[in-house]
């Protein structure tokens, strides 16, 4: 346990020195404020509090931004140690590869948690400032925070796995961007295209829920939209959220980080210094 903690402290310090804490927090706050400002204009008679509407917009933002931040922080985790030549010495220490991975994960999760809490917190302040009753939506904001951290953990694990597979930072960066494009952008586009061609047939009713649950980014979106009261405020894929039971999207959210870390550990074990 002390090895995990020592690794986490060291990694956090490195991320702080490399300005990652600042970059991640700055990005989240900036985007959240932009959304909060944009979201405070048109609402009026949607029938839900202002914060819940903002949470719906923040969910769409988080689907893109949280995986991106997680991959940017994690792609260098193992490949960078290999390239710098620090891994050989580290592996002669009485610390297991699982402990190394978990230590890095804890540090990066802490940074992500800080960034999303401050970012969403800024949106909260804007929403409550313009409409004090918006504080009613605080539960959906808290839910968004912890589910964002789980989503980030999944992509951190995936980033470590790619980092171990690539063994060079440049290759790992390429793989990370590819994963982000596929999981976050192309996957949804493909699903939309299939829904349009299917016209409400077997695909939309049978395969679509499974396809949404299989992708952690979609599971995150579905979970937050169906748990909140703002499903109506969201469009696109979000419209399908109502068809999926809440426990299923929650299970996907909790299981995918474990799966990602297992994959990362398997890939890391194959790295010989």
């Amino acid at each position: 346990m002390s090895q995990i903690l020592a690794t986490a402290i060291s990694e956090f310090r490195i991320a702080f020195r490399n300005r990652w804490v600042l970059i991640a927090t700055g990005m989240m706050v900036l985007f959240a404020l932009v959304l909060a400002a944009a979201g405070s204009a048109p609402t009026g008679d949607v029938g839900v509090d202002r914060l819940s509407v903002t949470v719906a917009s923040l969910t769409s933002l988080a689907v893109y931004l949280v995986p991106l931040l997680a991959l940017l922080m994690s792609f260098d985790a193992i490949a960078g140690e290999v390239e710098r030549g620090t891994l050989t010495l580290l592996l002669t220490y009485p610390v297991s590869r699982l402990q190394i991975l978990v230590g890095k994960l804890l540090a990066h999760i802490a940074i992500l948690a800080l960034a999303v809490t401050l970012g969403y917190g800024a949106a909260l302040v804007v929403a409550v400032w313009s409409d004090p009753s918006a504080i009613m939506g605080i539960t959906s904001l808290v839910r968004l925070i912890w589910s964002s951290v789980l989503l980030g953990a999944t992509f951190l694990g995936a980033g470590y796995a790619l980092s171990a597979l690539a063994r060079r930072p440049s290759g790992a960066a390429g793989l990370a961007i590819a994963l982000w494009l596929v999981a976050v952008v192309l996957y949804d586009l493909a699903l939309l295209a299939l829904i349009v061609t299917d016209q409400g047939g077997a695909f939309t009713t049978q395969a679509l829920p499974i396809a949404l649950l299989a992708n952690p980014a979609d599971a995150f979106r579905v979970f937050n939209l169906s748990a909140g009261q703002a499903v109506a405020a969201a469009g696109g894929i979000g419209g399908a959220a109502g068809a999926i039971p809440l426990w299923q999207s929650a299970a996907s959210l909790f299981l995918s980080p474990l799966l990602a870390i297992t994959l990362a550990l398997a890939a890391f074990r194959k790295v010989t210094p």
Partner: protein, 299 residues
């Protein structure tokens, strides 16, 4: 006394290449052994096997009675890799604190460790600003954590200036006096000659020689070189008297002589009295012995 390190019949293949062939050796507590060999002779491969970083194909390796790479073995072994590197964003003190925590040591002793390798002044500067020699000292400081029973040092003195090298070997003397076994590789043969107990020569993956320098010198039976400077105008006479000598451009006679013939040769030379201006006796250097053993099997 049980040996700290025992290797028997160790063989390691990389695809078709045999990096190590049937290597056997033992290292007793408190002994300092130098591992010599040309580039690619298998020194780093052997060290990585001892550390449990890479698997081997056949043979037996026992480190402090444990399997190499097991948690128990890693607790008792410290390593200094060739061209040691650290994260440039951390300071020397933070890096050593981290290593102390990983070994279950007290992180507060970090400044003391850095002071022992002469880095007290730079402890709070980032490693990114360090010179190669300073990084090497951080590497040395981390090997001192937790009184290891076996030290594995890959080219530990590369990048160190002569004074730091002497300090480094003084540190090793202290450790070996406490019972730490030390295995180090080096290309600086003269310092190895003076500061280690035994020498292991690897060539093409095979252990071609093992023993103290005196043993190896006796086994190689290389000739001692007698350098004779003739007095003015007596070169020809001396050349005629010693047909086995060769004359260099510097006007010196070089007479090779086997260990047993040294005194008779000296008697013959001193018999020439004032016609000999100067005499030097050069025993075979470690370089000569090293080339002798590492070339023998390479041919």
């Amino acid at each position: 006394m049980t040996p700290t390190l025992t290797i028997s019949q160790l063989t390691k293949r990389f695809q078709s290449v045999e990096a190590l062939k049937q290597v056997s050796l033992t290292l007793q507590p408190g002994r300092r052994a130098a591992l010599l060999g040309h580039n690619g002779a298998g020194k780093s491969t052997m060290m990585k096997i001892i550390l449990g970083l890479i698997p081997f194909d056949s043979g037996k390796v026992s480190v402090c009675g444990e399997t190499p790479g097991s948690a128990a073995a890693r607790r008792q072994v410290a390593y200094l890799p060739e061209n040691v590197a650290f994260h440039p964003a951390l300071t020397g003190e933070e890096q050593i604190r981290h290593y102390l925590a990983l070994r279950g040591g007290d992180p507060r002793t970090a400044p003391e460790l850095l002071a022992r390798v002469g880095l007290a002044q730079a402890a709070r500067r980032r490693i990114g600003t360090y010179s190669k020699g300073m990084r090497q000292r951080v590497g040395l400081a981390q090997t001192l954590i937790g009184r290891p029973r076996l030290l594995v040092l890959d080219e530990p003195t590369s990048g160190l200036d002569p004074v730091s090298r002497r300090d480094f070997y003084d540190l090793l003397d202290g450790l070996s006096a406490d019972g730490t076994a030390i295995l180090l590789s080096s290309h600086a043969l003269t310092e190895v000659e003076a500061r280690t107990d035994s020498i292991l020569i690897l060539s093409g993956g095979q252990l071609v020689a093992e023993g103290s320098l005196a043993d190896l010198r006796a086994r190689a039976a290389l000739p001692t070189m007698l350098l004779v400077r003739p007095a003015e105008g007596h070169l020809e006479a001396l050349v005629a008297a010693f047909p086995e000598a060769s004359v260099g451009a510097d006007g010196l006679l070089r007479i090779p002589c086997a260990q047993g013939e040294k005194l008779p040769f000296l008697a013959r030379i001193t018999a020439w009295g004032p016609q000999v201006a100067d005499l030097d006796v050069l025993p075979p250097s470690l370089e000569d012995i090293y080339s002798y053993f590492s070339r023998r099997d390479g041919q």
